[in-house]
Amino acid sequence: MKCNPDPQVLRLLANLGTGFDCASKAEIEQVLAMGVDPSRIIYAQPCKTKSHLRYAAKQGVKQMTFDNADELYKTKELFPDAQLYLRILTDDSASLCRLSLKFGASLDSTWELLELAKKLNLDVVGVAFHVGSGASDPEAFLKAVQDARLVFDQGAKLGFKMHTLDVGGGFCDETFDQMAAVLSNALDVYFPPSVRVIAEPGRYYVSNAFTLACHVIARRTVTDPTLGTTSYMLYLNDGVYGNFSSIIFDHQNPVPRILTCGDKFLYNARKPGGGYDTPNVMEYSIWGPTCDGIDCVSQSCTFADVIDIGDWLYFENMGGKCLACTC
């Protein structure tokens, strides 16, 4: 198993002029290799590995986040010219991936952190937050923007010239319009146009762009003599240790659909999750290829077709993985 940031999507985004939010040396390296200027990268990882930080310094990737005093001492030692964003804690209780459990300075610690940065002669250029991956409450953006305003004001009192607000990620396809409206309004109210605003959307761009096809490698027929019913366990050549990691890490429920069944090609031909409206409905459970009992793709689903070894299933909206949830 290996992680492979997708080069074609990255190239398209680079051409469209987006920046990149990287969390490790490998990610920075891949973006720089496309010829993207280091100023378009933010190293948005408040707890950095020292060797990675040295690499960022060498490459001139100056923008980075911090949320604790030890990171400031580390930055002072390895990259005193860094342009720092203070990552603050947000209320992400309504999001699927609660990033605030891991990162972010609470509002009662921001003043001290800014004072320390001043003492160390480090340059704090902005504030960052992240409402959490798969956020469901648009008001979270409003509260976070208000909090960021407070920290901007603290920075101004200490003599920092903060110029950028990083509103993080958490945007998803379904709720984007609503989130964007709340965020736009909040920005207009609390930050003058002179403040640059950046964001770190990930899932938003790719979740619907990827469709996965899997091969049925084995089938177990389960008969219930009492009820006289037959159901099937299907085994695929992909599972939660592969492209279905989102089931575990991101609480997703990918919907299986039939791509081929015998000689029939059925892409987009059957309703997703369908089968109930037809008389001869079959029940299936769908499993990954490993021996681990957790490797289950779908506990229960129904199809009107009898799926056999060698057939293919497909799953839509498979691009939005939150693998490391470092976001």
């Binding site: 992680c3 940031p5 770190e200 938003y204 761009y205 996965l212 096809a213 992909d238 497909y314």
Partner: protein
């Protein structure tokens, strides 16, 4: 090992030239049709059919029948336009961690 993803670049429905045009121009040209997945479905279906027709699980090499993605780059572009229209003030920095595609790779397979 077969490639892990097929890319529908034709689905971008625009040339490299268009990418550098201001969003308004592109909208006027009618490319911005966020909710219309119909054309996409046709192309995605063709890509799947072509790939699967080439696979014979009775004769293929190890990994020849591996799971694979079809990536609709047009969808990425549509989302970008939608961002520009709704959040023009905010410059997106693509979150790399989100893009990590895990490729299920048998130990015996060769690097492409």
């Amino acid at each position: 090992m077969a490639p892990s993803a097929l890319y529908l670049e034709e689905n971008l429905n625009l040339s490299a030239n268009d990418i550098t045009k201001p969003v308004n121009t592109i909208l006027a040209n009618g490319y911005f049709n966020v909710r219309d997945h119909h054309g996409s479905h046709t192309l995605i279906g063709q890509a799947f059919k072509q790939r699967i027709d080439d696979i014979d699980d009775d004769t293929c090499d190890v990994g020849g029948e591996d799971a694979f993605f079809v990536a609709d780059l047009g969808e990425v572009y549509r989302q970008h336009l939608r961002w520009k229209v709704n959040l023009n003030r905010v410059q997106p920095h693509y979150g790399m961690s989100m893009l990590a595609i895990v490729i299920w790779e048998p130990l015996t397979s060769k690097q492409p």
